[in-house]
């Protein structure tokens, strides 16, 4: 990613703001940007969602393929998540093969969904040992103004809830709604100016330190964690953001479940 010309000045500015409990765009420490979630927005996908958080905009599309199950799990389908950071979405994104950043995002989103058990892979079985569905979750950034992790996570679960298994097109029975039993939600925190904030924007990402991603399911069960970038954090800092995450995940789950 391209480095800003004056990262040290930006860091100093963000640190100075933090000492006064302020953020560059005027938000509170645990306050997210304005959020909108729409589903069923892509005509060629079997399920889709568009998420906008401030100037960050992403799409998620669900596609299905038939595959042969693994011999040791003859009645289970597959799940795959990919995140694409195309250069369309920001001047800092270079063209070329998938960057380590985009692979990390895809894998973190994947873990939250997979480990929450929101998709029972046995629901994806068509003929045991012969034919199962593979669910492919494609996250796609349109505009990256920071925190693609949460935007992708939210778009992915919203799109899954919106998805239909295309049985007729593949000649394996009727179309039916993809069973999605739970709503895992990811919340991300980044240390900016010496303290953690929720939903960092691009400026805070560039001038900040380590980030922590937490995916919570029903009853605050933890399904995935990820610490990224350089930096250290204490146990008490982690307790603080975990408490914030519990509250925010519940709010976001309500939004997704009401779509």
């Amino acid at each position: 990613m391209a480095q800003p010309l004056v990262p040290e000045l930006l860091r100093a500015h963000l640190t100075e703001l933090a000492t006064r409990d302020q953020r560059a765009d005027g938000r509170g420490q645990w306050e997210g940007r304005e959020l909108s979630v729409e589903v069923g927005v892509l005509d060629r996908a079997e399920g889709s969602a568009k998420v906008q958080m401030g100037d960050t905009i992403v799409f998620c599309g669900i596609k299905f393929q038939l595959q042969t199950p693994y011999p040791d799990r003859p009645d289970e389908g597959g799940l795959m998540t990919s995140a694409e950071l195309r250069p369309l979405a920001g001047r800092h994104i270079e063209p070329g093969p998938p960057s380590p950043e985009s692979i990390e995002i895809g894998r973190v989103v994947d873990r939250g969904i997979r480990e929450s058990g929101c998709i029972n892979t046995k629901d994806l079985c068509i003929i045991p040992g012969e034919k199962v569905w593979q669910v492919i979750i494609d996250c796609f950034a349109i505009s990256d103004d920071g925190n693609l992790f949460d935007a992708f996570g939210l778009a992915a679960i919203a799109a899954l809830h919106n998805a239909t298994l295309p049985g007729e097109r593949f000649d394996v029975g009727e179309d039916r709604k993809l069973p999605v039993n739970k709503t895992p939600i990811m919340c991300s925190y980044q240390k900016v100016g010496g303290r953690f904030v929720y939903d960092s924007n691009r400026e805070e990402e560039v001038g900040g330190d380590e980030r922590i991603h937490i995916t919570l399911g029903e009853d605050d069960h933890v399904h995935s964690l990820q610490k990224g970038l350089k930096g250290v954090f204490s146990a008490s800092e982690f307790v603080e953001i975990m408490d914030a995450a519990k509250q925010r995940c519940a709010e976001l789950r309500k939004i997704v479940d009401s779509l």
């Binding site: 892509l42 005509d43 060629r44 996908a45 889709s48 100037d55 905009i57 799409f59 599309g61 669900i62 596609k63 393929q65 990919s82 694409e84 195309r86 250069p87 369309l88 979405a89 920001g90 001047r91 063209p95 093969p97 998938p98 492919i136 494609d138 796609f140 349109i142 505009s143 990256d144 103004d145 097109r169 691009r202």
Partner: protein
């Protein structure tokens, strides 16, 4: 099933989506859809949905790509994995590479590159939803995004294709027509001069059919140009 086997036009000259031979699909344009870009635009054209963004002029690096007398235009056309009925495997392929090149060739013909020596202008075209004629939608959307970025051009580029189904020449093929069509003639027109900056063709057209397809494209380009001017005026004001 070969082309010609499927009836796509009825005896009254109505196409399967109700259009007449010379009609284009509905078009919706939105400017500035990528807030972090220097310029951007989206086009919904039939069920095509295409987003284009522009970054620059910016420093051209590595330095070996710099041109002393003008800017370089770096154009990428790409299809999103969920843009097609069967998932499109991400990554560059020969088709995308060719379309990126001919799109760049078309845009280089109108952008005043000599105003920005040693710099680079990035044009990114993403096909979010593909129906038929994505290269035309991509090129047209790219010229809107360049205008949104305030990059000087001698003219907009309006791109549209005509083709032939069941022996009848028709304008702006939809998905079914494209699947069974017998010819495809995409063109990129400069609406103010009537000149061309983009031209491809494949299939089989007689000289009179070719002329008919050419005329449909010219006529459609002027209609689409009106929609483009309207979208730009809606965002920036000014006389229409």
């Amino acid at each position: 099933m070969g082309y010609g086997d499927v009836q796509m036009i009825d005896e009254n000259g109505n196409r399967i989506d109700g259009r007449k031979a010379g009609d284009i699909r509905p078009i919706e344009i939105e400017m500035g859809v990528v807030p972090v870009a220097d310029g951007s635009a989206s086009m919904r054209w039939g069920t095509n949905y295409v987003i284009a963004s522009v970054y620059g002029p910016m420093e051209a690096h590595p330095r070996k790509i710099q041109r002393q007398e003008r800017a370089v235009l770096d154009v990428r056309y790409n299809m999103a994995p969920f843009s097609t009925t069967d998932r499109f495997r991400p990554g560059f392929n020969r088709r995308s590479r060719e379309i990126s090149k001919v799109t760049a060739d078309a845009l280089e013909s109108v952008v005043l590159l000599e105003l920005y020596p040693r710099s680079k202008i990035r044009v990114e075209i993403e096909i979010i939803c593909a129906e038929a004629g994505t290269r035309c939608v991509g090129l047209t959307a790219a010229s809107l995004a360049l205008a949104d970025a305030g990059i000087p051009m001698t003219d907009m580029v309006v791109s549209v294709a005509s083709g032939k189904i069941n022996g009848v020449v028709v304008c702006d093929l939809n998905k079914e027509e494209d699947n069974y069509g017998a010819a495809d003639l995409p063109m990129g027109v400069l609406p103010n001069t009537g000149e061309l900056v983009f031209l491809q063709m494949d299939g089989d057209l007689s000289p009179s059919e070719f002329q008919e397809a050419w005329d449909y494209n010219m006529e459609a380009a002027l209609k689409i140009h009106e929609l483009m001017k309207e979208a730009i005026a809606n965002k920036y004001g000014g006389a229409q």
